[in-house]
């Protein structure tokens, strides 16, 4: 089944997809920005500063989702002996890191009017910073290790250690007394967020997901061309 996902076979799709994803991203982002900045109501406690949520929360969600996917792909690469999984994981990492940085910076900006400080060594914020360090280690490992087998082992190890941090990020607000508020959206139970705020949040999440897909496709195509460049050298 995995032969269907061989780079040579899917390049014709991945090479044409970015322009369509780009159009869709701009469309969804435009709607999301209007909803987030103009149409959505202000919060009764936080006033307009609540609007930072529409960039902070989707960025955090996507950065966690990407790291989990990278770990799953790296492990699958070993289980199914398919190098393409590693290539997909490597192509996902840059957007994951950027979303992680966005979550940290926008969280810091949100913290100033809400908590009165730009930064606190709070469990949620610190664990998000640790995730950014794992992303950086993962990307650096791809750059510094020349030996292919070695880089696959090292990057997989980094993701295995890094994935331990994901449940810590998720439950840090429940396990410890933190400045960061508990989750307002629960899949398993009732969410405490009003629908007028949930809608822009979902639209912005969709826009961010489309952007990470766009960057993934561009990076993946670049990696495939790099492989083909090496193939030409061997001819």
């Amino acid at each position: 089944m995995f032969k269907l996902f061989e780079p040579n076979k899917i390049f014709s799709i991945t090479s044409k997809a970015p322009k369509y994803v780009m159009v869709l991203f701009i469309l969804v982002l435009s709607i999301g920005l209007v909803e987030a900045l103009i149409l959505s109501p202000e919060d009764y406690k936080q006033s307009h500063s609540v609007r930072i949520m529409y960039v902070h929360v989707p960025a955090a969600w996507i950065s966690l989702g990407i790291f989990s996917s990278i770990t799953l792909l790296s492990l699958s690469g070993y289980v199914f002996r398919n190098k393409n999984f590693f290539l997909i994981a490597k192509s996902l990492a840059p957007s994951g890191l950027v979303f992680n940085i966005i979550a940290l910076v926008t969280g810091s900006i949100w913290g100033k009017p809400t908590w009165g400080t730009w930064w606190a060594w709070d469990a949620r914020i610190t664990s998000m910073l640790i995730l950014a360090i794992f992303y950086i280690l993962y990307l650096i490992a791809w750059r510094i290790y020349e030996d292919k087998e070695q880089v696959l082992k090292i990057t997989t190890l980094i993701t295995i250690f890094g994935i331990i941090n994901i449940p810590i990020i998720k439950y840090s607000v429940d396990w410890w007394n933190t400045l960061h508020q508990p989750a307002s959206i629960n899949i398993m139970s009732n969410s405490s967020i009003h629908s007028s705020m949930l809608l822009p949040l979902m639209i912005m999440t969709a826009a961010f997901a489309l952007f990470s897909l766009l960057i993934f496709l561009m990076k993946y195509n670049t990696e495939l061309i790099k492989l083909k460049n090496k193939g030409l050298d061997r001819l």
Binding site: P7, N8, F11, S12, T14, S15, K16, P18, K19, M22, L33, A36, L37, I38, E42, S47, H48, S49, R51, I52, V55, H56, A59, P94, S95, V98, I101, I102, V105, T106, I109, W110, K112, P113, F211, L214, I215, M218, K219, N221, T222, L224, I225, K226, K228, N229, G231, L232, D233, L235
Partner: protein
């Protein structure tokens, strides 16, 4: 209306800087990814052009090489 949108009850600076940082990060990441893509593609085109007739014949058998050269993947 515009003043209200910019000021946001005194929170404008925080809100607009968070959104600006996000969009600027998107633009930077997109530009870097695009530049890397173009650089690799140009390298490929140069290498492909310098192949001798026999090697070029082998290279032509792979559809992916033709797709890279065709420019259908332009972003």
């Amino acid at each position: 209306m515009i003043n209200e949108l910019l000021n946001m009850n005194g929170y404008g600076l925080y809100v607009w800087s968070a959104f600006s940082f996000t969009l600027l990060s998107f633009l930077t990441l997109y530009s870097v990814a695009k530049a890397q893509y173009i650089r690799e593609r140009n390298k490929f085109i140069a290498k492909y052009g310098s192949l001798d007739a026999q090697k070029a014949k082998v290279a032509r058998t792979q559809t992916i090489n033709q797709e890279i050269l065709s420019g259908s993947q332009s972003i």
